[in-house]
């Protein structure tokens, strides 16, 4: 009886893991196979044509890259400085706990609420309009917790000896942070940055009312232009327009490009992390 329970219990756990892995591969393979049918060089480097029924997705790729880079420009300095404060300067467990509570709570805010915030503040109040700038700022706030957490971990992983050696040479606290701690923590910070880019590239709800547009002729010219973006393009192809027989295949292709982009970015981050760990001499 006990033996049977043991076998059944462990079997149930193995089945649940198998189910999860099968779900993952179902998504990847289903989108991969259908997406490959439309994926070619032209698809990547041409603008959409004839009311979204033909052509490629170049403006959406460019738009997504622009939004990701824009959000990083905003979130990276703030995130790294927050992490430095938390890891190097903040005194008292209580203070650190309160700050971290805010960071965790910010990470839990639904993405569509960020969209509302961006709409009211950046689009309307500051008058940036529906634009790359508004979308980047909105996404920047969204990925801030990711960047802070990764950077803090990287800064904390720098051995205490390094700091003491620097102090022993007469360096000030800030000099030590800038010349010793930050360079040593750089690979970890970069990993966090890359994860943030991946997160920003995949988000749809925050850019729906702040940056994204269904169709654009050519590429955006300035940060005050609205843009097409890969995730929004998938949504738009499935919900707008009148010829699903042409739009759905393009949506498959776009979904595959987005998946490859985001999972590729995550893979780069994982490889960098492993390499950085291996290269450590301390």
């Amino acid at each position: 009886m006990r033996r049977k329970k043991e076998l059944l219990g462990i079997l149930a756990i193995r089945i649940s893991v198998l189910f999860v892995l099968v779900s993952l591969f179902a998504v990847l393979i289903f989108i991969g196979l259908n997406g490959l049918k439309v994926l070619n060089i032209g698809f990547l480097f041409e603008p959409p044509k004839e009311g979204m029924t033909k052509g490629g997705i170049l403006p959406a790729i460019v738009g997504s890259l622009g939004l990701s880079v824009g959000s990083i420009c905003f979130a990276l300095p703030l995130g790294v400085l927050s992490a430095i404060y938390l890891a190097e300067y903040a005194k008292g467990k209580r203070l650190i706990r309160v700050i971290k509570m805010g960071i965790n709570a910010l990470a839990g805010v639904p993405s569509v609420v960020f969209g509302l915030f961006g709409l009211a503040v950046f689009v309307k109040f500051f008058g940036f309009g529906v634009s790359i700038l508004s979308g980047s700022l909105t996404l920047g706030i969204l990925i801030l917790p990711t960047i802070i957490r990764a950077s803090e971990e990287a800064v904390l992983a720098v051995p205490q000896d390094f700091r003491e050696a620097s102090f022993a040479l007469g360096a000030s606290k800030w000099q030590t942070v800038r010349r010793v701690v930050l360079p040593t923590a750089l690979p970890g910070i970069l990993t966090g940055t890359i994860l943030g880019i991946g997160r920003a590239a995949g988000e749809t709800a925050p850019i729906m009312f702040t940056a994204a547009t269904f169709y654009q002729r050519g590429l955006p010219h300035s940060i005050f232009d609205e843009v097409m973006a890969l995730p929004y393009h998938i949504y738009a192809l499935m919900t707008e327009g009148t010829s699903p027989q042409y739009q759905v295949p393009i949506a498959y292709g776009t979904a595959l490009v987005l998946l490859l982009l985001v999972l590729g970015i995550n893979l780069v981050a994982i490889i960098m992390r492993t390499r950085a760990r291996r290269a450590k001499k301390w």
């Binding site: 219990g9 779900s23 400085l81 700050i99 709570a105 910010l106 309307k124 949504y235």
Partner: protein, 282 residues
């Protein structure tokens, strides 16, 4: 010790997460309040009808609230057992080499953008469920629940795994020494010892599911009625905001009502984040 300019502003930057939280709350309040002025808060929260474009319009969000709750409940019914199963597998059952292969795949689920999940639900799962259940449409709350469950699973798994693997080794050894089988050790010793962490993982999983937008927007069916059955179309709060913000004229009652929904959503997820912190402290 003299501090330079950057060192002086560091504490301000580190408190930005809280500043953004307050900013978001402030915006949602100021933009949402006009609704409560024209209809009472109780009629807003418990009104049975959401007819924003009727004449006269009705703004009762009870169907949307119940839609969100139902979809989230379904998601956690999927995510908790599967996520816990994966966590137990990774920390208690899998050999190290298999664990190192399996874990990145489970983490990969978290990297897939939500719009891709929504797309997959639209083209694959919804037609499947329609056929299996002989339903008029496969776009239902239950369909969304299954996908949201898979999406919330990596959150549940990673936090539950941390909790399970931080259970001290000697507890397990004591259990084995008493002649318990592996399954008995897991269910009667390890899981009870890790229960606060597992509870945290469930709370954060719920937070993830209730705030998810694109999947429910694309898959849940979109009809704003009190859900009568698991596999009927519903319209959760996030989907309502995302679907209607584009059409609501700026400054109209409808526009403000959508911000008020955002406020309800924000307060719910903030409550969940703080509850998770509180359980973690215990």
């Amino acid at each position: 010790m003299r501090k330079n300019l950057i060192e002086r502003v560091l504490p301000i930057i580190a408190s930005l997460a809280w500043a953004f939280l307050f900013g978001i709350m402030l915006i949602l309040f100021t933009e949402g309040i006009p609704v409560v002025k024209s209809i009472s808060p109780l009629r807003f929260l418990f009104g049975l009808h959401w007819y924003p474009v009727h004449e006269p319009p009705e703004f009762g969000i009870l169907p949307l609230l119940l839609g969100s709750f139902m979809v989230t409940l379904g998601a956690i019914i999927v995510a908790l057992p599967l996520g816990l199963g994966c966590a137990i597998y990774l920390s208690e059952i899998a050999r190290p080499c298999i664990r190192d292969i399996t874990k990145p795949f489970i983490e990969m689920l978290a990297g897939i953008p939500s719009v891709v999940y929504g797309f997959f639900g639209l083209v694959f799962l919804a037609p499947l469920i329609q056929r299996i259940g002989h339903l008029p449409t496969g776009l239902t709350g239950g369909t969304a629940s299954i996908i949201l469950g898979i999406m919330a699973l990596p959150t549940v798994t990673s936090i539950a795994e941390d909790a399970i693997s931080s259970v001290p080794r000697n507890l397990r050894e004591a259990s084995f020494a008493l002649g318990a089988t592996r399954w008995e050790t897991i269910t009667k010793t390890v899981l009870p010892a890790a229960k606060s962490g597992i509870f945290t993982s469930a709370i954060l999983g719920v937070g993830r599911a209730i705030g998810e937008t694109m999947t429910v927007l694309m898959v849940a069916g979109g009809s704003a009625v009190i859900p009568s059955h698991f596999f009927r179309p519903v319209r959760p709060m996030t989907a309502t905001i995302a679907a209607e913000m584009g059409e609501a004229p700026m400054g109209s009652l409808h526009y403000h009502a959508l911000f008020a929904i955002g406020l309800v959503l924000f307060l719910l997820t903030l409550g969940l984040s703080l509850a998770a912190e509180w359980v973690k402290e215990k």
